[in-house]
Amino acid sequence: MFLKRLTCQGFKSFADKTDFDFMPGVTGIVGPNGCGKSNVVDAIKWVLGEQSARSLRGRQMMDVIFNGSGTRRSSGVAQVDLVFDNADQTLPCDQTEVTVSRRLYRSGESEYLLNSQACRLKDVRELFLDTGVGVDAYSIIEQGKVDVLLQANPAERRIIFEEAA
């Protein structure tokens, strides 16, 4: 199983629908300060079910909706889709391509979708159980966070370790 495509629309600084196609191997993301690279990481965390606004650098979950710029009005909704190649059937469903989506409206209304079908966060979590995919997995190292295990005291390290492994 591997990542195929990420699509963001109205999510943080991605006002317009923007795709990233992933290949096996190394995908590099580059660009000037503040242009949106870490927002791509936030998008992946968010669509996989991240519940903490703080972990997405926001103060409330509403902060992830594009809130306008010098030239644009704010968006009414944020949406992220993440497409997985499931040819090896690692994910417990028939499709060879699996899409997880999440939407958040200004009203606060929020949706999860699996292959365009409305579902609950619980369903998304169950889908990825034991695949190593998810916000608790130790597979996403955020900017500035690489030293966390070294800075922590031995007891805190134990807790992080138990969650990760």
Binding site: G28, V30, I44, F161
Partner: protein, 167 residues
């Protein structure tokens, strides 16, 4: 569950020792379960985790005394050791190479390449050296203030950050 913790801890420990040596080109590192005042057997269910790391040619000291770059390399060794014992189809590393000099950046990149048989890696970076190991490079810019846009990156001309070609 005590058994599971012990197994995982042992796996991570083995990977950490090996990855540290590879990343530092020598030296020695370990993770240990804390004992009360350094005596007796650690309480497997409660003990905290201690990290020891000795860069090549140096004496073993508290990890707090390590340099910024040495701490980053040690942390990368540990994170990749955990990743190796709990593999995921993909890993995302956001500017983990910020504190690394050229030599360490290169060793880090070489280690990442070893993981590619098992997983996809997404690397966010400002380092040209790290960019050079990417199979695909995406540029992100804000030509319109406040609005992110994906662009293609030409790697042969100057810094992709200053002159990306628009895709």
């Amino acid at each position: 569950s005590r058994k599971r913790f012990e197994e995982t801890f042992h796996q991570v420990r083995t990977h950490f020792q090996e990855l540290y040596r590879k990343l530092f080109g020598g030296g020695k590192a370990d993770i240990l379960l804390e004992t009360t005042d350094g005596e007796g057997t650690p309480d497997i269910l409660e003990a905290g985790i201690e990290i020891q790391a000795r860069p090549p040619g140096k004496e073993l000291q508290s990890i707090s005394l390590l340099s910024g770059g040495e701490k980053t390399m040690t942390a990368i060794a540990l994170l990749l050791a955990i990743f190796k014992s709990r593999p995921s189809p993909f890993a995302i590393l956001d500017e983990v190479d910020a504190a690394l000099d050229e030599a360490n950046n290169e060793r880090f990149n070489r280690i990442v390449r070893e993981f590619l048989t098992e997983s996809q890696f997404i690397l966010i970076t400002h380092s040209k050296r790290t960019m050079s190991i990417a199979d695909v490079l995406y540029g992100v810019t804000m030509q319109e203030a406040g609005v992110s846009k994906r662009v293609a990156v030409r790697f042969d001309d100057e810094s992709p950050e200053s002159k990306p070609a628009v895709a």
